[in-house]
Protein backbone atom coordinates (compact mmCIF):
# COMPACT_ATOMS: atom_id res chain seq x y z
CA UNK A 1 0.00 0.00 0.00
CA UNK A 2 2.79 2.42 0.97
CA UNK A 3 4.74 1.75 -2.21
CA UNK A 4 1.62 2.08 -4.33
CA UNK A 5 0.66 5.46 -2.85
CA UNK A 6 4.22 6.76 -3.07
CA UNK A 7 4.45 5.72 -6.73
CA UNK A 8 1.41 7.93 -7.34
CA UNK A 9 3.01 10.86 -5.49
CA UNK A 10 0.39 10.63 -2.76
CA UNK A 11 1.13 11.45 0.86
CA UNK A 12 1.70 8.40 3.07
CA UNK A 13 3.81 8.03 6.15
CA UNK A 14 4.64 4.82 7.99
CA UNK A 15 3.56 5.34 11.59
CA UNK A 16 2.92 3.39 14.76
CA UNK A 17 -0.71 2.37 15.11
CA UNK A 18 -2.43 4.80 17.47
CA UNK A 19 -3.41 3.25 20.75
CA UNK A 20 -7.06 4.10 20.14
CA UNK A 21 -7.09 1.72 17.17
CA UNK A 22 -5.10 -1.19 18.52
CA UNK A 23 -3.87 -2.41 21.89
CA UNK A 24 -0.73 -3.68 20.24
CA UNK A 25 2.24 -1.72 18.88
CA UNK A 26 2.04 -2.13 15.11
CA UNK A 27 2.47 -0.32 11.84
CA UNK A 28 -0.10 1.88 10.13
CA UNK A 29 -0.08 4.26 7.22
CA UNK A 30 -0.76 7.88 7.96
CA UNK A 31 -2.68 9.33 5.00
CA UNK A 32 -4.56 12.52 4.22
CA UNK A 33 -8.28 12.59 4.95
CA UNK A 34 -9.09 13.95 1.50
CA UNK A 35 -7.27 10.98 -0.11
CA UNK A 36 -9.26 8.26 1.65
CA UNK A 37 -11.81 7.62 -1.10
CA UNK A 38 -9.07 7.46 -3.74
CA UNK A 39 -7.03 5.11 -1.53
CA UNK A 40 -10.01 2.77 -1.19
CA UNK A 41 -10.32 2.73 -4.98
CA UNK A 42 -6.59 2.02 -5.39
CA UNK A 43 -6.79 -0.80 -2.85
CA UNK A 44 -9.73 -2.29 -4.73
CA UNK A 45 -8.03 -1.93 -8.14
CA UNK A 46 -4.70 -3.34 -7.02
CA UNK A 47 -5.95 -5.91 -4.53
CA UNK A 48 -4.20 -4.26 -1.58
CA UNK A 49 -5.34 -5.52 1.80
CA UNK A 50 -5.89 -3.37 4.88
CA UNK A 51 -7.59 -3.92 8.22
CA UNK A 52 -9.43 -0.62 8.36
CA UNK A 53 -9.19 3.06 7.59
CA UNK A 54 -9.95 5.19 10.61
CA UNK A 55 -9.84 8.86 11.43
CA UNK A 56 -8.77 10.22 14.78
CA UNK A 57 -8.89 13.69 16.19
CA UNK A 58 -5.18 13.53 17.05
CA UNK A 59 -3.06 16.49 16.02
CA UNK A 60 0.70 16.09 16.24
CA UNK A 61 2.21 18.61 18.57
CA UNK A 62 5.98 18.90 18.49
CA UNK A 63 5.97 21.04 21.63
CA UNK A 64 4.05 18.60 23.81
CA UNK A 65 7.36 17.14 25.05
CA UNK A 66 6.02 13.80 26.22
CA UNK A 67 8.46 11.06 25.33
CA UNK A 68 7.30 7.86 27.05
Amino acid sequence: MYRSLKSKDMYAQISPTPRELSVCCGVSLLVKGEDVERIKEIAEEEGLAYLSISGLNNEFDNTRHKYG
Binding site: Y2, I14, T17, G26, N58, N62, K66, Y67
Partner: protein, 422 residues
Protein backbone atom coordinates in the same frame (compact mmCIF):
# COMPACT_ATOMS: atom_id res chain seq x y z
CA UNK B 1 -0.56 -7.51 15.16
CA UNK B 2 -2.04 -10.37 17.12
CA UNK B 3 1.24 -12.18 16.44
CA UNK B 4 3.10 -9.58 18.47
CA UNK B 5 0.91 -10.27 21.48
CA UNK B 6 1.53 -14.00 21.15
CA UNK B 7 5.27 -13.48 20.71
CA UNK B 8 5.44 -11.25 23.79
CA UNK B 9 3.45 -13.79 25.81
CA UNK B 10 5.74 -16.59 24.64
CA UNK B 11 8.71 -14.50 25.75
CA UNK B 12 7.25 -14.33 29.25
CA UNK B 13 6.60 -10.61 29.10
CA UNK B 14 4.27 -8.76 31.42
CA UNK B 15 1.65 -7.90 28.79
CA UNK B 16 -0.49 -5.71 31.00
CA UNK B 17 2.41 -3.51 31.97
CA UNK B 18 3.92 -3.54 28.48
CA UNK B 19 0.58 -2.31 27.20
CA UNK B 20 1.10 0.89 29.19
CA UNK B 21 4.30 1.54 27.24
CA UNK B 22 2.49 0.87 23.96
CA UNK B 23 -0.02 3.47 25.03
CA UNK B 24 2.41 6.37 25.14
CA UNK B 25 4.91 5.55 22.39
CA UNK B 26 2.74 6.16 19.29
CA UNK B 27 1.87 9.65 20.52
CA UNK B 28 5.50 10.49 21.25
CA UNK B 29 6.61 9.19 17.86
CA UNK B 30 3.91 11.26 16.15
CA UNK B 31 4.86 14.43 18.00
CA UNK B 32 8.63 14.05 17.64
CA UNK B 33 9.03 12.49 14.18
CA UNK B 34 5.84 12.67 12.13
CA UNK B 35 5.32 16.34 12.90
CA UNK B 36 8.58 17.24 11.14
CA UNK B 37 8.27 18.75 7.69
CA UNK B 38 10.17 17.89 4.54
CA UNK B 39 11.69 14.66 5.83
CA UNK B 40 13.76 12.52 3.44
CA UNK B 41 11.64 9.80 1.80
CA UNK B 42 14.20 7.14 2.72
CA UNK B 43 13.41 7.68 6.41
CA UNK B 44 10.48 5.33 5.69
CA UNK B 45 12.58 2.29 6.58
CA UNK B 46 13.62 3.72 9.94
CA UNK B 47 10.05 4.88 10.61
CA UNK B 48 8.89 1.31 10.04
CA UNK B 49 11.52 -0.12 12.39
CA UNK B 50 10.52 2.39 15.04
CA UNK B 51 6.76 2.03 14.51
CA UNK B 52 7.01 -1.68 15.28
CA UNK B 53 10.05 -1.46 17.54
CA UNK B 54 8.94 -4.34 19.77
CA UNK B 55 7.65 -6.44 16.90
CA UNK B 56 9.76 -6.42 13.74
CA UNK B 57 13.31 -7.03 14.93
CA UNK B 58 12.25 -9.18 17.89
CA UNK B 59 10.35 -11.49 15.53
CA UNK B 60 13.55 -11.91 13.49
CA UNK B 61 15.46 -12.72 16.67
CA UNK B 62 12.80 -15.24 17.71
CA UNK B 63 13.17 -17.01 14.36
CA UNK B 64 16.97 -16.91 14.67
CA UNK B 65 16.78 -18.50 18.12
CA UNK B 66 14.25 -21.09 16.95
CA UNK B 67 16.88 -22.15 14.42
CA UNK B 68 19.45 -22.56 17.16
CA UNK B 69 21.01 -19.09 17.03
CA UNK B 70 22.18 -17.21 20.12
CA UNK B 71 21.51 -13.55 20.86
CA UNK B 72 23.89 -11.37 22.88
CA UNK B 73 22.56 -8.23 24.56
CA UNK B 74 24.98 -5.32 24.86
CA UNK B 75 24.87 -1.95 26.58
CA UNK B 76 27.84 -0.02 25.32
CA UNK B 77 29.78 1.14 22.25
CA UNK B 78 32.93 -0.58 23.56
CA UNK B 79 31.60 -4.12 23.09
CA UNK B 80 32.92 -5.35 19.72
CA UNK B 81 30.05 -6.73 17.66
CA UNK B 82 32.60 -8.20 15.23
CA UNK B 83 33.42 -11.21 17.40
CA UNK B 84 29.77 -11.95 18.24
CA UNK B 85 28.75 -12.01 14.57
CA UNK B 86 31.91 -13.98 13.70
CA UNK B 87 30.72 -16.77 15.99
CA UNK B 88 27.37 -16.81 14.20
CA UNK B 89 25.62 -14.94 17.02
CA UNK B 90 23.63 -11.72 16.84
CA UNK B 91 24.51 -8.70 18.95
CA UNK B 92 21.64 -6.44 19.95
CA UNK B 93 21.73 -3.27 21.98
CA UNK B 94 19.55 -3.21 25.08
CA UNK B 95 18.24 0.35 24.99
CA UNK B 96 17.18 1.56 28.46
CA UNK B 97 16.11 5.02 27.33
CA UNK B 98 12.62 5.29 28.82
CA UNK B 99 11.35 6.73 32.07
CA UNK B 100 8.79 3.92 31.94
CA UNK B 101 11.48 1.49 33.15
CA UNK B 102 13.03 3.70 35.83
CA UNK B 103 10.67 2.94 38.77
CA UNK B 104 11.24 -0.77 38.20
CA UNK B 105 14.99 -0.18 38.43
CA UNK B 106 14.60 1.85 41.60
CA UNK B 107 13.34 -1.26 43.34
CA UNK B 108 16.90 -2.60 43.05
CA UNK B 109 19.09 0.51 42.90
CA UNK B 110 19.48 3.73 44.89
CA UNK B 111 17.36 6.57 43.47
CA UNK B 112 20.52 8.60 42.88
CA UNK B 113 21.69 6.26 40.13
CA UNK B 114 21.71 7.38 36.50
CA UNK B 115 18.38 6.77 34.74
CA UNK B 116 20.00 4.64 32.04
CA UNK B 117 21.17 2.11 34.60
CA UNK B 118 17.87 2.15 36.46
CA UNK B 119 15.99 1.63 33.17
CA UNK B 120 18.28 -1.30 32.36
CA UNK B 121 17.17 -3.16 35.47
CA UNK B 122 13.56 -2.05 35.18
CA UNK B 123 13.30 -3.33 31.59
CA UNK B 124 14.68 -6.72 32.65
CA UNK B 125 12.87 -7.27 35.91
CA UNK B 126 9.54 -5.74 34.84
CA UNK B 127 9.59 -7.98 31.75
CA UNK B 128 8.43 -5.19 29.50
CA UNK B 129 11.03 -5.27 26.71
CA UNK B 130 11.25 -8.16 24.23
CA UNK B 131 14.95 -7.52 23.54
CA UNK B 132 15.76 -8.08 27.20
CA UNK B 133 13.86 -11.34 27.04
CA UNK B 134 15.48 -12.44 23.77
CA UNK B 135 19.13 -12.04 24.72
CA UNK B 136 20.58 -15.39 25.77
CA UNK B 137 23.64 -13.77 27.30
CA UNK B 138 24.23 -10.16 28.34
CA UNK B 139 27.65 -8.60 27.75
CA UNK B 140 28.42 -5.87 30.27
CA UNK B 141 31.48 -3.68 30.60
CA UNK B 142 33.15 -1.69 33.37
CA UNK B 143 32.45 1.78 31.96
CA UNK B 144 31.07 3.17 35.22
CA UNK B 145 30.63 2.17 38.83
CA UNK B 146 26.84 2.20 38.60
CA UNK B 147 26.83 -0.26 35.72
CA UNK B 148 29.37 -2.53 37.40
CA UNK B 149 27.19 -2.94 40.47
CA UNK B 150 23.98 -3.16 38.41
CA UNK B 151 25.48 -6.03 36.41
CA UNK B 152 25.89 -7.98 39.65
CA UNK B 153 22.14 -7.68 40.15
CA UNK B 154 21.25 -8.40 36.51
CA UNK B 155 23.54 -11.42 36.63
CA UNK B 156 21.27 -13.04 39.21
CA UNK B 157 18.54 -13.27 36.55
CA UNK B 158 20.34 -13.84 33.25
CA UNK B 159 23.75 -15.19 32.11
CA UNK B 160 26.04 -12.19 32.03
CA UNK B 161 29.68 -11.68 31.09
CA UNK B 162 31.43 -8.45 32.07
CA UNK B 163 34.34 -7.11 30.01
CA UNK B 164 36.91 -5.30 32.13
CA UNK B 165 37.58 -2.08 30.20
CA UNK B 166 40.88 -0.43 31.15
CA UNK B 167 40.51 3.13 32.43
CA UNK B 168 43.77 4.48 31.03
CA UNK B 169 45.25 4.46 27.54
CA UNK B 170 48.78 3.18 27.94
CA UNK B 171 50.21 0.51 25.67
CA UNK B 172 49.57 -2.15 28.30
CA UNK B 173 45.91 -1.09 28.40
CA UNK B 174 45.52 -1.72 24.68
CA UNK B 175 47.01 -5.19 25.21
CA UNK B 176 44.72 -5.76 28.19
CA UNK B 177 41.64 -4.88 26.10
CA UNK B 178 42.76 -7.36 23.45
CA UNK B 179 42.90 -9.99 26.22
CA UNK B 180 39.38 -9.06 27.28
CA UNK B 181 38.22 -9.49 23.68
CA UNK B 182 39.80 -12.96 23.67
CA UNK B 183 37.80 -13.76 26.81
CA UNK B 184 34.66 -12.55 25.02
CA UNK B 185 35.51 -14.82 22.10
CA UNK B 186 35.66 -17.76 24.53
CA UNK B 187 32.22 -16.82 25.89
CA UNK B 188 30.58 -16.47 22.45
CA UNK B 189 32.22 -19.69 21.24
CA UNK B 190 30.95 -21.60 24.26
CA UNK B 191 27.45 -20.11 23.92
CA UNK B 192 27.08 -20.59 20.18
CA UNK B 193 29.13 -23.76 19.78
CA UNK B 194 30.91 -22.09 16.85
CA UNK B 195 34.60 -21.20 16.57
CA UNK B 196 35.80 -17.70 15.80
CA UNK B 197 38.33 -18.15 13.02
CA UNK B 198 40.60 -15.78 11.12
CA UNK B 199 38.26 -16.19 8.14
CA UNK B 200 34.94 -15.41 9.83
CA UNK B 201 36.46 -12.65 11.95
CA UNK B 202 38.00 -10.94 8.89
CA UNK B 203 34.62 -11.14 7.17
CA UNK B 204 32.82 -9.58 10.12
CA UNK B 205 35.43 -6.88 10.65
CA UNK B 206 34.65 -5.82 7.08
CA UNK B 207 30.89 -6.08 7.68
CA UNK B 208 30.92 -3.82 10.74
CA UNK B 209 33.36 -1.41 9.07
CA UNK B 210 30.86 -1.03 6.22
CA UNK B 211 28.17 -0.15 8.74
CA UNK B 212 30.43 2.42 10.41
CA UNK B 213 31.33 3.92 7.02
CA UNK B 214 27.63 4.33 6.18
CA UNK B 215 27.08 6.25 9.42
CA UNK B 216 30.15 8.36 8.77
CA UNK B 217 28.78 9.23 5.32
CA UNK B 218 25.47 10.24 6.91
CA UNK B 219 27.19 12.45 9.48
CA UNK B 220 29.42 14.07 6.87
CA UNK B 221 26.34 15.08 4.87
CA UNK B 222 25.09 17.06 7.86
CA UNK B 223 28.16 19.27 7.61
CA UNK B 224 26.77 20.98 4.52
CA UNK B 225 25.36 24.49 4.71
CA UNK B 226 22.11 22.93 3.51
CA UNK B 227 21.29 20.51 6.32
CA UNK B 228 19.53 17.68 4.46
CA UNK B 229 18.23 15.79 7.50
CA UNK B 230 17.21 16.77 11.01
CA UNK B 231 19.22 15.82 14.06
CA UNK B 232 16.11 14.13 15.44
CA UNK B 233 15.94 11.77 12.45
CA UNK B 234 19.69 11.14 12.59
CA UNK B 235 19.51 10.32 16.29
CA UNK B 236 16.86 7.70 15.53
CA UNK B 237 19.16 6.12 12.94
CA UNK B 238 22.05 6.04 15.44
CA UNK B 239 19.78 4.40 18.00
CA UNK B 240 18.56 1.78 15.52
CA UNK B 241 22.21 1.05 14.59
CA UNK B 242 22.59 -0.76 17.89
CA UNK B 243 20.04 -3.46 17.19
CA UNK B 244 19.30 -3.75 13.49
CA UNK B 245 20.87 -6.31 11.19
CA UNK B 246 24.20 -4.63 10.32
CA UNK B 247 24.20 -5.37 6.59
CA UNK B 248 20.60 -4.31 6.01
CA UNK B 249 21.15 -1.26 8.18
CA UNK B 250 24.21 -0.16 6.17
CA UNK B 251 22.27 -0.63 2.91
CA UNK B 252 19.40 1.50 4.18
CA UNK B 253 21.68 4.23 5.51
CA UNK B 254 23.50 4.36 2.19
CA UNK B 255 20.18 4.54 0.33
CA UNK B 256 19.21 7.46 2.55
CA UNK B 257 22.60 9.10 1.93
CA UNK B 258 22.06 8.88 -1.86
CA UNK B 259 18.88 10.89 -1.37
CA UNK B 260 20.59 13.32 1.00
CA UNK B 261 23.37 13.93 -1.52
CA UNK B 262 20.73 14.86 -4.08
CA UNK B 263 19.07 17.14 -1.53
CA UNK B 264 22.37 18.90 -0.92
CA UNK B 265 22.90 19.27 -4.68
CA UNK B 266 19.37 20.69 -5.00
CA UNK B 267 19.85 23.03 -2.04
CA UNK B 268 17.14 21.36 0.08
CA UNK B 269 17.52 22.14 3.77
CA UNK B 270 15.43 21.18 6.78
CA UNK B 271 17.00 23.97 8.79
CA UNK B 272 16.72 27.27 6.95
CA UNK B 273 17.89 30.03 9.28
CA UNK B 274 18.40 27.73 12.24
CA UNK B 275 21.45 27.71 14.51
CA UNK B 276 23.75 24.72 14.15
CA UNK B 277 24.24 22.80 17.39
CA UNK B 278 26.68 20.04 18.30
CA UNK B 279 25.57 17.83 21.18
CA UNK B 280 28.13 16.12 23.38
CA UNK B 281 27.71 14.04 26.51
CA UNK B 282 26.00 10.85 27.60
CA UNK B 283 24.21 8.39 25.28
CA UNK B 284 20.57 8.80 24.24
CA UNK B 285 18.85 5.43 23.98
CA UNK B 286 15.39 4.91 22.46
CA UNK B 287 13.00 6.64 23.22
CA UNK B 288 15.13 9.45 24.64
CA UNK B 289 14.57 12.16 22.02
CA UNK B 290 14.04 14.97 24.48
CA UNK B 291 17.04 17.18 23.77
CA UNK B 292 16.85 16.92 20.00
CA UNK B 293 13.13 17.63 20.01
CA UNK B 294 13.55 20.67 22.25
CA UNK B 295 16.53 22.07 20.33
CA UNK B 296 14.89 21.58 16.96
CA UNK B 297 11.65 23.26 18.08
CA UNK B 298 13.59 26.17 19.60
CA UNK B 299 15.36 27.59 16.56
CA UNK B 300 18.24 25.11 16.40
CA UNK B 301 19.26 22.15 14.31
CA UNK B 302 21.50 19.40 15.64
CA UNK B 303 24.33 18.82 13.14
CA UNK B 304 26.48 16.38 15.12
CA UNK B 305 26.42 14.22 18.26
CA UNK B 306 29.71 13.50 19.99
CA UNK B 307 28.10 10.75 22.05
CA UNK B 308 27.84 6.96 22.12
CA UNK B 309 24.70 7.35 20.00
CA UNK B 310 26.76 9.45 17.60
CA UNK B 311 30.35 9.73 16.48
CA UNK B 312 31.84 7.54 19.22
CA UNK B 313 29.92 4.62 17.75
CA UNK B 314 31.36 4.82 14.24
CA UNK B 315 34.50 6.98 14.10
CA UNK B 316 37.69 5.07 13.26
CA UNK B 317 37.63 1.73 11.51
CA UNK B 318 39.14 -1.57 12.50
CA UNK B 319 42.36 -2.03 10.50
CA UNK B 320 41.55 -4.80 8.01
CA UNK B 321 45.15 -5.81 7.37
CA UNK B 322 45.39 -8.35 10.21
CA UNK B 323 46.36 -11.79 8.91
CA UNK B 324 46.14 -13.88 12.07
CA UNK B 325 43.43 -14.09 14.70
CA UNK B 326 45.74 -12.41 17.22
CA UNK B 327 46.45 -9.52 14.88
CA UNK B 328 42.77 -9.05 14.16
CA UNK B 329 41.88 -9.06 17.85
CA UNK B 330 44.56 -6.45 18.54
CA UNK B 331 43.30 -4.34 15.65
CA UNK B 332 39.77 -4.56 17.06
CA UNK B 333 41.10 -3.59 20.50
CA UNK B 334 42.96 -0.62 19.04
CA UNK B 335 39.84 0.68 17.30
CA UNK B 336 37.60 0.42 20.36
CA UNK B 337 40.24 1.87 22.70
CA UNK B 338 40.16 4.91 20.41
CA UNK B 339 36.70 5.81 21.74
CA UNK B 340 37.00 8.67 24.19
CA UNK B 341 34.66 7.98 27.09
CA UNK B 342 34.70 9.92 30.35
CA UNK B 343 35.46 6.68 32.22
CA UNK B 344 39.09 7.11 31.10
CA UNK B 345 41.70 9.25 32.81
CA UNK B 346 42.97 11.46 31.40
CA UNK B 347 40.38 11.94 28.67
CA UNK B 348 41.53 15.16 27.04
CA UNK B 349 41.12 13.55 23.61
CA UNK B 350 37.35 13.89 24.02
CA UNK B 351 37.64 17.69 24.16
CA UNK B 352 39.91 17.48 21.09
CA UNK B 353 37.16 15.48 19.35
CA UNK B 354 34.44 17.97 20.31
CA UNK B 355 36.49 20.92 19.03
CA UNK B 356 37.35 19.12 15.80
CA UNK B 357 33.76 18.04 15.21
CA UNK B 358 32.37 21.48 16.10
CA UNK B 359 34.65 23.03 13.49
CA UNK B 360 33.96 20.37 10.86
CA UNK B 361 30.20 20.65 11.46
CA UNK B 362 30.38 24.45 11.46
CA UNK B 363 28.52 24.40 14.76
CA UNK B 364 27.35 27.74 16.11
CA UNK B 365 27.36 26.31 19.62
CA UNK B 366 27.92 23.16 21.70
CA UNK B 367 25.46 21.72 24.21
CA UNK B 368 26.96 19.31 26.73
CA UNK B 369 24.11 17.22 28.09
CA UNK B 370 24.57 14.63 30.77
CA UNK B 371 22.25 12.18 32.41
CA UNK B 372 21.69 12.93 36.05
CA UNK B 373 24.15 11.22 38.42
CA UNK B 374 26.63 10.45 35.64
CA UNK B 375 29.59 11.66 37.65
CA UNK B 376 32.40 11.21 35.14
CA UNK B 377 30.71 13.16 32.33
CA UNK B 378 29.47 15.75 34.79
CA UNK B 379 32.98 16.36 36.10
CA UNK B 380 34.40 16.60 32.59
CA UNK B 381 31.91 19.35 31.77
CA UNK B 382 34.06 21.98 33.45
CA UNK B 383 37.28 21.27 31.56
CA UNK B 384 35.32 20.85 28.34
CA UNK B 385 33.76 24.28 28.80
CA UNK B 386 37.20 25.82 29.38
CA UNK B 387 38.61 24.21 26.24
CA UNK B 388 35.65 25.36 24.14
CA UNK B 389 35.78 28.89 25.54
CA UNK B 390 39.46 29.08 24.62
CA UNK B 391 38.41 28.20 21.07
CA UNK B 392 35.64 30.81 21.09
CA UNK B 393 32.91 28.17 20.77
CA UNK B 394 29.72 29.01 22.73
CA UNK B 395 28.89 26.33 25.31
CA UNK B 396 25.87 25.31 27.35
CA UNK B 397 26.04 22.59 29.99
CA UNK B 398 22.84 20.75 30.92
CA UNK B 399 21.86 17.90 33.19
CA UNK B 400 18.64 15.99 32.72
CA UNK B 401 16.95 12.62 33.09
CA UNK B 402 14.20 10.73 31.27
CA UNK B 403 11.23 12.52 32.83
CA UNK B 404 9.25 15.17 30.97
CA UNK B 405 9.23 17.38 34.07
CA UNK B 406 12.12 19.64 33.09
CA UNK B 407 11.15 20.02 29.41
CA UNK B 408 9.92 23.59 29.80
CA UNK B 409 12.96 24.63 31.85
CA UNK B 410 15.24 23.10 29.24
CA UNK B 411 13.29 24.85 26.53
CA UNK B 412 13.84 28.20 28.25
CA UNK B 413 17.57 27.61 28.70
CA UNK B 414 18.11 26.21 25.21
CA UNK B 415 15.97 28.94 23.65
CA UNK B 416 18.04 31.60 25.44
CA UNK B 417 21.29 29.92 24.36
CA UNK B 418 20.20 29.79 20.73
CA UNK B 419 19.05 33.42 20.86
CA UNK B 420 22.45 34.36 22.27
CA UNK B 421 24.11 32.77 19.24
CA UNK B 422 22.62 35.65 17.25
Amino acid sequence: MADNQKMWADLGMNLEMHDMLCEVLPGAIGDVFMSQENRPAAMDYFDMVLADVHGLRPSELVEFRNNGGKVFGTFCAYVPDEVIFAAGGIATGLCAGSQFWVPGGERYLPANTCPLIKAMLGARFDKTCPFYRLADVYIGETTCDGKKKAYEILGTDVPLHVMDLPQMKREKDYLKWADEIKDLIAVVEKTTGNKVTAENLAENIKKINIKRKALERLYNLRRNACVPISGTDTLLISQIAYYDDPERFATMVNKLCDELEQRVADGVSVAEGKKRILITGTPMAIPNWKLHNIIETSGGVVVCEETCTGTRYFENQVDESGATLDEMVQNIANRYMGINCACFTPNTARADDVIRLAKDSKADGVIDVNLMFCQTYDIEGRSLEERLKAEGIPFLGLETDYTDNDAQQLKTRIGAFIEMLG
